[in-house]
C-alpha cells in the first residue's frame, strides 16, 4: 500500500471515476469537475443531475431518420418545408448539425449510427440500413446523397449502400472531394488535389 495516501470520501471518488469515463476528460480534469460540483449550490447540482437523466429518459431515435430526438418523428422529418424527395445519409447525428449549418440542404436525413468497420466487428447489419430500405420503399425518394466520411470505412459503407440501392433506380450522389475553402494549393496532399482535379467543373 501507498503509505500516507488517503483517497477522497467514497461519493467524491465515485464521481471522479464517472467523469473520468467521459471522452476528453482525464483524471485531473475529473477531479477538478468533481470538486467544482461540491462547491456548487444544491439547486444547480440537482438541475445538472436532472438534465443528465432527462437526456436518457426523454431522448429516443426518430422512427424515420434515426436521429436522436425528444419527439418522434424528428423536427426535420415532420417539417412540410423540407424536400421529401431527397435523403442525405450520414454516419452520426453530429453530421446533421454540420450539414444544417450550411443552410443549403433542404431535404431529409438518415443516420446510420456508425460505419462498416471490420476491425471493430461492425457490419452492415449493425447499422440502420434496414430502416433506410423501409423508408425508400414508399417510392417518394428520388435522390440519395451519400455523405459518409471520406476515409476507408466511410467509403466502404458508401459502396455497400450504392450496390444495395442501385437496383432501385434511385439517383445516387456523393459529396464532392476536394480543396477546403480558404485553403492553399501548396499545402494540399496529392490525393486530395488529385480528387479535386478529377472533380473539376466548368466555370
Amino acid at each position: 500500500m501507498n503509505r500516507g495516501f488517503f483517497p477522497p470520501a467514497e461519493p467524491v471518488s465515485r464521481l471522479i471515476d464517472e467523469f473520468n469515463k467521459l471522452p476528453g476528460i482525464g483524471p485531473k480534469s475529473a477531479a477538478r469537475l468533481a470538486y467544482h460540483l461540491l462547491r456548487m449550490p444544491e439547486a444547480e447540482a440537482r438541475s445538472l443531475a436532472e438534465a443528465i437523466i432527462a437526456v436518457k429518459d426523454k431522448i429516443v431515435l426518430c422512427s424515420l431518420c434515426q436521429n436522436i430526438t425528444d419527439s418522434d418523428p424528428y423536427a426535420i422529418c415532420r417539417s412540410k418545408q423540407r424536400d421529401q424527395n431527397k435523403i442525405c445519409i450520414v454516419e452520426e447525428p453530429l453530421d446533421i448539425l454540420a450539414l444544417e449549418r450550411t443552410g443549403q440542404y433542404q431535404g431529409l436525413y438518415h443516420v446510420l449510427h456508425g460505419v462498416i468497420s471490420p476491425m471493430e466487428g461492425i457490419g452492415p447489419d449493425d447499422l440502420k440500413i434496414r430502416e433506410l430500405l423501409g423508408r425508400l420503399k414508399s417510392g417518394k425518394v428520388e435522390e440519395v446523397i451519400l455523405a459518409t466520411n471520406p476515409n476507408l470505412e466511410g467509403e466502404a459503407t458508401a459502396m455497400y449502400l450504392q450496390r444495395l440501392l442501385s437496383p432501385s433506380g434511385i439517383r445516387m450522389t456523393s459529396l464532392a472531394r476536394g480543396l477546403p475553402v480558404g485553403g492553399d494549393l501548396e499545402y494540399a496532399d496529392e490525393v486530395t488535389l488529385g480528387r479535386a482535379l478529377e472533380g473539376r467543373r466548368e466555370v
Binding site: L152, E153, R163
Partner: protein, 330 residues
Amino acid sequence: MATTKSPRTASDVELINWSALREKDPVARLEVQAQRASGSLRVEIALRGKIVAAEAGASYVQKRIRVNGVDRRAMDLIGLINVVLFSPKDIDLVDGEPALRRRYLDITNSQADHRYLRALQRYHRVLQRRNYLLRLIAEHRARPEELDFWDRELVEAGSYLIALRQQTVAALDELARPIHDQLTEGQERLKMIYQSSVDKEAFQEALSAARDKEVAQGMTLIGPHRDDLRFLVNERDMNIYGSRGQNRTIALSLKLAEAKFIAARAGDSPVLLLDDVLSELDAQRRHHLLQAALGYQQVVITASDADRFEPAFLARAAKFEVRSGMIQAL
C-alpha cells in the same frame, strides 16, 4: 535526414546523447545544408526528450522537422535529400527474410515516388481490415459480399505497388549487372527477378478464386505483401546457395545500382554512404569498389583504418577523423 529515422536504432530517444538524457530538457539537433539541382535546401531535425519517469531518462521524444525554416511533416521530407546507405548489415537483404527485401523495394520506391508511399499506406490499411473481415466471415459474423469493397481497394493499390516494384527491379537489374561484373571481374553474372504471388492483370480473379482458402485461414494470401525479390548468380538462387562473400558483394552491387537508379529518377545524384565496407572485402574487390566509387558525385566512406584505402584514392578524398566523439579534418 533522408528518412527522418536513424538506421542504427529503432528508438529516437537513443539519438540523444546519453549523458544529456540525465539532464533537464535533453535535446538533439541535426542540420543539413544540401545543394540540389533544383536549388539549395536547409533541413533541420530537432528532438526534444520528454521525461516521464526520472530514473528511466527520457521516455519519448518530440520531433520537429523544418525545411528552409518552415515546419514540415515527416512524410514531406522523404525524397528531399536522397541518400543510399550501404552497411555490413545489408547482407541480410540477400540471405534474410523476404520481408526485408519488400521493405527495401518499398523504401526505394517511396523515395522516388510520393504516390507509391500513399498506395503503400492505403494497401496496408486495406489489408489489415480485409484480414479482420475474413476472420469475421469464417466465424459467420459477416457475409462474403462484404469483401467486395476491400477486394477492389486491395487490387487498386496492390496492382500499383506490383507494377512499380517490377519496373524498379527491372531497372536495378540492368544497372547492377555491369557493376557486379566489374566487382567480380566477370566471374559472376547477377540477375534480379521480382517474384509476384499474383499476376497484377488478374489480381481480382485470383482473389475470387482464393476466397474460400482465405476465409479458412483468416488472411489475405496473395498480393504484394507476399512477393519477393530473388537474386540469381550464374542462375543459382543466392538466398539458398550464396556464400557470405558472394552475398555481401551482391548487396553492394545492389546499393551502387540503387544510387544510379535514384540519380536517374530524381534528376540529381544521391549521397552514397558506405559504412565500414572495406574491412570485409578482399584486396581485389576493395580496389574495384573504390574505382566504382569514383564514378559517383558524393561518397562518404567510413573505415576503422586509413590503410584500407589505396594511396591514389586517398589523395583525391577529403579526410576526417572521428576521435572520442569529435570530428576533425585531417
